[in-house]
């Protein structure tokens, strides 16, 4: 079942899926066609999928450093002036007794972006090498990455609310810092990376058809 030798595949039957409305379009040997149902430009595979994904990933990986090193917000009150990074925010949640929430933010803000960059990196790397190994596991990995990525914006919204609420100029205030921008950019870039990766690139080498990619 895994190798597609006996299966009817889109690329063998000259059919392509419209990513806009999931219509099956007859594409034949052409590079692209218009979906007759929604008007979207349909390709057999996302054009330059691996290059685009790799580019987004590289940008995300570079910004991951300032996103975690630079402070995301600055709190000032009569007693303290304090810069907070993503990690120090997690430490604060653990310290203030709400460890489940601390764990949640740790996973969503630190683990997920990192694992996402690494996972997509592995997927792109293996597809570029036209690897035939573990296609099912890689497809599942892609699904997890695609599903979970958006939750990393959690911390950005939390900072937004703190900035909007804590603005008693004399008593206390919270201001956003550059780290928040870098962090938001990492999340958006990894979302774009996941969207531009074509999971069918995992299966094409397995199906032994070199027409695509």
């Amino acid at each position: 079942m895994l190798d597609g030798s006996n299966l009817a595949l889109g690329q063998r039957t000259g059919l392509a899926l419209c990513r806009g409305c999931l219509e099956i379009c007859e594409i034949g040997d052409r590079a692209s066609t218009r979906c007759r149902r929604c008007g979207e430009l349909v390709h057999a595979r996302i054009p330059r999928s691996l290059e685009k994904t790799a580019a987004y990933l590289a940008a995300a990986a570079i910004l991951y450093v300032p996103a975690n090193v630079l402070p995301v917000m600055h709190s000032s009150s009569v007693l303290v002036q304090q810069d907070d990074t993503i990690l120090s925010g997690v430490v604060y949640l653990f310290g203030s007794g709400s460890w489940p929430l601390g764990l949640l933010v740790f996973v969503a803000s630190i683990m997920v972006p990192l694992l996402k960059i690494l996972s997509l990196g592995v997927l792109v790397w293996m597809s570029a090498r036209r690897s035939r190994e573990h296609p099912l596991a890689r497809t599942r990995l892609y699904r997890v990455v695609d599903f979970i990525g958006r939750w990393s914006l959690l911390d950005i919204y939390a900072v937004t609310m703190l900035v909007a609420l804590v603005r008693m100029d004399a008593v206390a205030s919270v201001q956003p810092r550059l780290g928040a921008l870098a962090f938001a950019a990492v999340v958006v870039l990894t979302l774009l990376a996941a969207q531009s990766f074509d999971p069918r690139a995992i299966w094409d080498p397995v199906d032994g058809d070199d027409r695509c990619l």
């Binding site: 299966l7 219509e23 949640l104 296609p135 939750w151 919204y157 609310m161 804590v166 299966w203």
Partner: protein
């Protein structure tokens, strides 16, 4: 994944599968990679339209009322959703403000608007050929609509402030919470598999 030729094309591994007739809550999955291709839903178009209307009201409530009010040192501050985005802008982060406004306000609003538009006149839209376009836009906008993530972010900020100040959860946050199942329901109904399958049953 489609139906014009009575078949599904797996979006993740390219296998052509015969489309199945699904009864409610039944799932069909790709035989090779296991991704969900379709699921049977029992809701009628009228029910989905009612949910879309409710979602529109909740979206308005979410934007019109304060999310959280905070009292600290004798001063009281509260913020609405758009106020929160604007606050980022006035603190020198206009790009971040734009991201928050797009993902938490605009995208959910457009998502709900398109749902109302599609559900209100499915048959007329299908005849004039606009339905495909509307469904495509819905699917694109939905990816950037993050009410659920925003809600959790709000809760995180509340926990962070709970030790320092007195907090009151505003109506907008409740509306936000109520909006989540409504949007999930709409996503279940506004799917190409469902809308183009033959809405005789809708």
């Amino acid at each position: 994944m489609s139906d014009s030729i009575g078949a599904c094309l797996c979006p993740q591994c390219d296998v052509l599968v015969r489309a199945a007739d699904l009864s409610q809550d039944q799932l069909s999955a790709c035989p090779r990679c296991g991704v969900e291709l379709d699921r049977g839903t029992y809701a009628s178009r009228e029910a989905a339209l009612a949910v879309a209307a409710a979602a529109a009201e909740l979206w308005i409530l979410m934007n019109a009322f304060p999310l959280v009010a905070l009292t600290l040192g004798g001063e009281r501050r509260q913020t609405t959703l758009s106020g929160a985005a604007v606050a980022l802008g006035t603190h020198g982060m206009p790009l971040l403000a734009l991201l928050v406004a797009l993902t938490a306000i605009v995208a959910p609003g457009v998502e709900i608007g398109l749902a109302l538009y599609v559900l209100g006149r499915v048959d007329a839209l299908a005849r004039s050929g606009v339905l495909g376009r509307a469904v495509r836009w819905f699917r694109t906008v939905r990816r950037w609509s993050m009410v659920d993530v925003f809600m959790l972010g709000c809760l995180v900020s509340i926990v962070k402030l709970a030790n320092l100040a007195q907090l009151v959860v505003g109506p907008a946050l409740w509306a936000c919470a109520a909006l989540l199942p409504a949007l999930a329901f709409l996503n279940l109904y506004i799917r190409p598999q469902r809308l183009f399958g033959g809405f005789g049953d809708a």
